[in-house]
Subunit: 538 residues, 2 copies
Amino acid sequence: MSTSTPPRLAAAMDAWRLSIGPENVIDDPATLALTGTATYAVDQPVPAVIRPSTTIEVSQCLRIATENGIHVYPISRGMNWGYGSKVPVESNCVVMDLGRMNRILDYDVEMGTVTVEPGVTFHQLQDLLEEHGSKHFMAAPGTSPHASCIGNALDRGWGFGPYSDRFDYSAGMEVVLPDGEVVETGNARFRGSRSAHLFKWGNGPYVDGIFTQSNFGVVTRMTFFVAETPPIFASYVYKIAGDAKLPALMDALRELKMRHIMRTNFKVQSFYRLFMERQQFPAGQEDFLLTPEAVAEAKQKWGIDDWNGFGALYCWSDAQYAAEREIVEQVLRPHVDALVFLDADVMARKDAIKDEVLEETGFHLEQILDRFWVNTRLIGVARGKGVSGAYFRKSTPVPDELDLDRDRVGFLWVDPILPLRGSDVRDAADLAGQIMKHHGFEPNLGFNCVTERAIFMTISLVFDREREGDDARAMRCAKELAQRMSAEGFTLGRVANGLMSVLDHAQPASLDLQHRIKEALDPAGILSPGRYEVPPSF
Amino acid sequence: MSTSTPPRLAAAMDAWRLSIGPENVIDDPATLALTGTATYAVDQPVPAVIRPSTTIEVSQCLRIATENGIHVYPISRGMNWGYGSKVPVESNCVVMDLGRMNRILDYDVEMGTVTVEPGVTFHQLQDLLEEHGSKHFMAAPGTSPHASCIGNALDRGWGFGPYSDRFDYSAGMEVVLPDGEVVETGNARFRGSRSAHLFKWGNGPYVDGIFTQSNFGVVTRMTFFVAETPPIFASYVYKIAGDAKLPALMDALRELKMRHIMRTNFKVQSFYRLFMERQQFPAGQEDFLLTPEAVAEAKQKWGIDDWNGFGALYCWSDAQYAAEREIVEQVLRPHVDALVFLDADVMARKDAIKDEVLEETGFHLEQILDRFWVNTRLIGVARGKGVSGAYFRKSTPVPDELDLDRDRVGFLWVDPILPLRGSDVRDAADLAGQIMKHHGFEPNLGFNCVTERAIFMTISLVFDREREGDDARAMRCAKELAQRMSAEGFTLGRVANGLMSVLDHAQPASLDLQHRIKEALDPAGILSPGRYEVPPSF
């Protein structure tokens, strides 16, 4: 330990070593440096990392932290790329790494639920579900498959498929409060309850929600619902040229979503979002925006256009599939320039029809089959690379296993919530594009429909942390996006560390309510200070 | 005011009179007696009723209560029949009647949301939606159409149709805390947020849930999502003789629910539930259970059987309806003795086919068309009588407008949550039936599928409060049901006043968490003491 370690931290570290073993109390400079590294500029040094392996150990560690007044910042797998990675919001927080708690505690095959610890990854869960015959699938994440299911849910991240709104499809938590008390929620708080893992509301006040996007407790167990794998799965991809058709497309998508014809989330993504996922910054390119010729070439090469979307159908009979497909076609055709359905029939005939598909739609059939039908997250495949587009600006190639922190990839998310309505989408796309271009960023935009009425807009800033000035430029752009989008009514749905000051837009009484709950559950204020809180200096 | 009014109450009442007008501070004995009357025996005298008409007035009233240490119990419309009606859980609570706050604040026709005050009833909302062309429908309640939408949602009641789990389909609350602070939740706490009424999670900790089934604040505004009215609506009814087929039927229903073929809730109800809704206790009948001959006669007369169920399809094309109907038939036919679909075609041909339907299925076509296709709650009709079956034991006829409290109807709900699984349903039905018969109650049971994995079982005790000993007998039976069902893992989903001691089954740490939040938000403990709390004497 460094000789400059403050005495209360030293005392806590001694106590932690006794509790969880000295090998799980880490303060070597290399680990601390990596733990303190995000995909954008942060300056919150991490004094130590502790790695409890059980709920009891988490409880002991938090009790020790409370007794010594040491701040603790829990991470599950620490893959919170673009939002702050493993890095605490404030300085001098010990990082509690829950990666050793990686047991899948239960898979109820009959009822379609999995109960997991925070260290369990999407990849790990997919392996288990496949071992059991792929009867069910978990909503796969947009990010790395090695991310934590619980971590993602607690930040109210979303996935692909019918259970996209991940937290909404969970039931029953085990939470360790900052003073070490272990609380169960939902019907899990009733010993022997047969619906402990099946019914989210429980009985009495529904408290699970206060442990999401907050700093009130450490969640050490959660149950997720997994969707039944249908006998007939089909997906569809579509695209449009130019921005003019985007609002009407969005209204059409709302129609499909409201009518439950679209049971998955959908995504509509800008040219640059897809371009970056397919190749790195072209050598010899001068301006940050491609020339019109280069854009045209890329569109043809990758079968993409200015706006690109997909959806999926989950059906239990051929007739149901035919009927739903017809409704999708009727609703979408008038608003898109190309629409292709991907199903078992297309897969079987792919060689025979690929030229025709290319000619008629510009889609490369093998590419879209692989991306949206075979290895697709829409049916739970959590084995891709994740956000490979983040390497767009790197001069080194995209590695097999992404590690954005290690590779000094510049990556920052700003995620406003929009009404699922054409006029709002147009306003938001215009404003975000204008701010991004002003700061020298491509309009890398996505619209992710997770609910029937509101969507996540994902604004992605991609840069190279090795390039002088890029860190500062990205944070300036992100702050302007966060502030101006919020001021226009596009409230953020998830906030990256470093952008918490946007919460100042909230009604003071609501912040006071949050503060009162915080004081009740964490009077010593040791847990994740600053997380989803207005910075005190603001 | 009575001369025996305690001085602090007298001071509060003076302050309330100044705040909301003397006509809205009521203590005439007749009103107090009726307010203190439930559908079963209670002994919690109500010292006064206050009737604020705005959020500001609610805030002032609560502030006055906090300053004077006066307990307040808010009701919306006070139609909480079978759970305690208007009666506070503990004695000496002033009832805050929010019935004057009956404005529909917004109907967003494009996005399908309604924003209402606590006094708004289901009936009132249906009127509004009809005035706008019935583009949407609200999940209609099982109880009186004059019940409050917010009141029902806050007790996590459920309705009919695709948005059955009412609280799940809400976004953004205005809540007055016991000290008078007015808090907005979800994105409503961000001024000008375009998704204030569209996105339930908001940003930061999701707190809405803690204001359901609790006593932390008074909700003065809520937004509900309303479902789009489909061009093709169909329903289906089915029934089975005997108990043997019930478990397999339940597993089949889970299949339909998990696959989203059944987007509404479904109900499967016992013979006695339906019999009581159709006629009162037969004159001359001796035993509380009908003779086998009388049962057989009633089954034929009313077209019902030992277990009776229904569901609905909401479709956007004929092909979709045909496909979904075929799936329902395939899944259900092997498990039911009769199954009839009700749609526009059947309605048109009803006179021609009714004899055939009766002969083949025992269903009286006109009856079921009226109940499940024309005037059905499955598509939002909130104009029926509600729980008319509660009058089963009364010697007076069922009135046009039900008032169970006034009419001294004996009625008590016990609602365990079960896994949506045949074996659990069988266990629960057996245990509940056995306890009910032991206490001289008919097995009046319903299984209400609100979620994909867990269902509400509704056990209904129907009696006549005028009959000597019935009040005590009902409470003995309810307590035994609550305790023994809980002990068997059938945790209650909603708890009637008088049965709160069942919460003693909860893990102590979870009760402590609830207590900590209560202390943080209501340090004076003035709001609805005892609601969803373990009784102190227990």
